[in-house]
């Protein structure tokens, strides 16, 4: 049988090794579907690397793709730290994008230094409020937040579609269900000329540092970690568990909402119902790869983004389905779960007989 012996404090080198091993394992496993699709393996990996890092344009595209992933990754990481299972970042992202568009397309007018903060705040607030519902249902009524956040993803996406076909439809949109464009004064500026990379990346990096300091250096952060370790013990120790869950829920939803702000106000310029190709769900993978560390989230998001951008580019060159990227990302999640065991436990394979002997 297998025995798990808990390890003591974990060295940083091991914490870094786990996700790296998982990422490498997922990339190796990706060879199976690639072979199935009839690709030449080394050529395919080469094309993927080139697609994500091969040129300045490729590299900035990868960073652009990483921007929402950092934020949804942080949303999942901070919630999972408290064992608040927010699987609803996808919906919160759309809520943030919808609020950004509602505020940024003419509702307010003024210079950038007023409009940009207004758009960012509106998006964060909308995402936070969406997550407040499931959090209150959990703390007040004991309704499982996994299912409610998952179901809200569908409800919010339908709501967005409804708004885009109704009151928020762009009359100049040639009949397409899309919002009016965000005002120039409300848009997040580009970071480089002729590239799509925008200030959303800076916002994401600042958010990651902010969450890091919150978790490490503040009382609220301590309370979040304590609730995640053992909610009953935390309550016993006088930590306000309900208030902590509500804070975490608001923060997690707000971070996901910011991802939506970045996508509409920094990248697309207007809202459509296909804004996110599952950034909310990929954020869970990012958070798990990062070991729920806010700084780690940045690196994990870069990895996942390079898979997406690299596989997209490889897919265009070879004609193989770009669902391969989603497949690699899903395998990375399963791999990091397993390799995480090696972080927390020494694993001994012991025969039943020897266990008996030991008992005698």
């Amino acid at each position: 049988m297998i025995r798990f012996e808990p390890r003591g404090p974990v060295a940083v080198s091991r914490m870094v090794a786990v996700p790296v091993i998982a990422a490498v394992a997922a990339l190796i496993l990706a060879a199976v579907p690639m072979l199935f699709a009839g690709l030449s393996i080394f050529e395919a990996y080469g094309l993927m690397a080139k697609g994500a890092f091969g040129s300045m344009f490729a590299f900035t595209e990868m960073l652009t793709r990483a921007t929402p992933l950092i934020l949804t990754g942080l949303a999942a990481a901070v919630a999972f730290r408290a064992k608040l299972w927010n699987i609803g970042a996808e919906g919160q992202l759309y809520a943030g994008a919808l609020a950004a568009v509602a505020v940024g397309t003419g509702f307010l007018s003024g210079p950038s230094y007023i409009l940009i903060p207004a758009v960012v705040l509106a998006g964060a607030l909308a995402g936070g409020l969406v997550m407040l519902g499931p959090t209150l249902l959990k703390t007040k009524l004991g309704v499982d937040e996994v299912v409610t956040t998952l179901l809200l993803n569908f409800i919010i996406l339908l709501f967005v579609q409804m708004m885009l076909e109704g009151p928020m439809k762009d009359p100049m949109g040639m009949g397409w269900p899309q919002s009016e464009p965000i005002l120039d004064e409300a848009a997040l500026p580009k970071l480089m000329a002729r590239m799509r990379i925008h200030w959303g990346l800076v916002m994401a990096l600042v958010a990651s540092l902010g969450v890091y300091f919150l978790l490490k250096r503040t009382v609220w952060g301590f309370e979040i970690r304590a609730v995640g370790e053992n909610a009953a013990a935390a309550r016993h120790a006088g930590i306000p568990v309900t208030a902590t869950f509500i804070r975490v829920g608001l923060l997690s939803g707000a971070l996901a909402g910011l991802a939506g702000v970045g996508e509409v106000a920094g990248l697309k310029g207007y809202l459509t119902a296909d804004l996110s190709p599952g950034f909310g769900y990929s954020g869970i993978v990012v958070a798990m790869l990062a070991g729920l560390s806010p700084i780690g989230v940045v690196f994990a998001a870069l990895f996942i983004a390079s898979i997406f951008v690299g596989a997209d580019s490889m897919s265009r060159a070879t004609g193989v389905s770009n669902y391969l990227a989603d497949l690699i990302v899903a395998m990375a999640l399963l791999c990091v779960l397993v390799s995480g065991l090696f972080l927390r436990f020494k694993i001994r394979f012991v025969g039943t007989a020897s266990t008996k002997e030991a008992a005698e």
Binding site: V146, T148, Q161, M162, V285, S321, A330, L333
Partner: protein, 314 residues
């Protein structure tokens, strides 16, 4: 008002309710047995997709309809085994593992479908299950078309409810499954294997879930579409709580849900011009959340649900 009555007295409405309920019955029964054994299976959404794709593709490749059903069940069992290994002997987070299995099963299904059929403008169709014509019963006025003109898979779902209830409450195996979800160390002390029971139940439960997916491509529609599962798996997880982990109540919950969905679709054609279609499409999800809220206070979760068991540890 008379519109509503018209809907309720049409046999067509009741037949649609049962049809909409069928995949949910498979899903809830599958989720229910897993949770009864102490394992939350959030892989369900992906397992639905895998069952839908695998079953459809098998038939498309020529296995015949029941061959397709078997392939779908095996696909479900495969993903169930992954979830079982990660959560039972390895004791990993059931939430994260379940989401991982859903992402894996969904992306693998889409990838295989896209690779097998690289550029088709409209999804290829198969000869799906035809409604059965049961002598006498199907010909009864009203009741016949309302209840007895369904496909074999619907009757299989109903049979499965009865079998699950019987196994769970009337056999030693069922008692062991219930015990392993409530008090695993007591099961171990009886000389039974907690791991064996849990892994077995999750594999079988996942195979059952996959049949719900197979119903979608082999009975409800005759083709596979991306995004066709559309949250049905998550709805089943909510319905499982609503059914307080009882097969009979699960059937009732799925039927209520099917009736409500069939009703609102028909209502939509009456009042559709006043209310945006999305409001109606939101209803199933809102209803699931409402169902969870209604039972939240008295939900009696299996006591060892989500709790990993390690042999020889307290």
């Amino acid at each position: 008002m008379s519109d509503i009555l018209d809907i309720l007295i049409s046999a067509n409405f009741w037949a649609a309710s049962l049809r909409i309920a069928t995949p949910l019955i498979f899903g809830v029964i599958g989720a229910l047995v897993c949770e009864r054994a102490g394992v939350l299976n959030l892989g369900i959404e992906g397992i639905f997709t895998a069952g839908a794709m695998a079953g459809w593709m098998a038939v498309w490749l020529g296995t015949g309809l029941w061959g397709g059903v078997l392939v779908a069940a095996l696909a479900g069992a495969f993903f169930g085994l992954i979830h079982a290994i990660l959560t039972v002997p390895l004791g990993l987070s059931q939430h994260v593992s379940g989401v991982g299995v859903t992402l894996f099963a969904t992306s693998l299904s889409y990838f295989i479908y896209r690779t097998a059929l690289p550029d088709v403008s409209s999804p290829p169709r198969i000869d799906e299950f035809e409604p059965l014509n049961i002598p006498v019963l199907s010909d009864l006025p009203f009741i016949g078309p309302a209840l007895f003109q369904q496909t074999s898979l619907t009757f299989l779902a109903l049979l499965l409810v009865a079998v699950t209830a019987y196994v769970l409450y009337r056999t030693p195996l069922g008692l062991a499954i219930q015990a392993v979800g409530d008090n695993p160390s007591a099961v171990e002390s009886q000389g039974l294997s907690v791991y064996g029971l849990r892994i077995g139940v999750v594999v079988v439960g996942s195979a059952i879930m996959a049949l719900g997916g197979a119903f979608l491509t082999m009975s409800a529609f005759d083709a596979f579409f991306f995004g066709m599962v559309n949250g049905r798996g998550w709805i089943c997880i909510a319905l499982t709580v609503f059914a307080s982990w009882r097969p009979g109540k699960a059937l009732l919950g799925a039927l209520l849900f099917g009736a409500f969905d069939a009703f609102q679709v028909r209502l939509q054609t009456e009042v559709g011009s006043f209310i945006p279609g999305q409001v109606f499409l939101m209803m199933p999800y809102l209803l699931s959340i409402a169902a969870l809220i209604v039972v939240a206070r008295k939900a009696d979760y299996p006591r060892a649900l989500l709790v990993p068991y390690f042999r020889g540890q307290r």
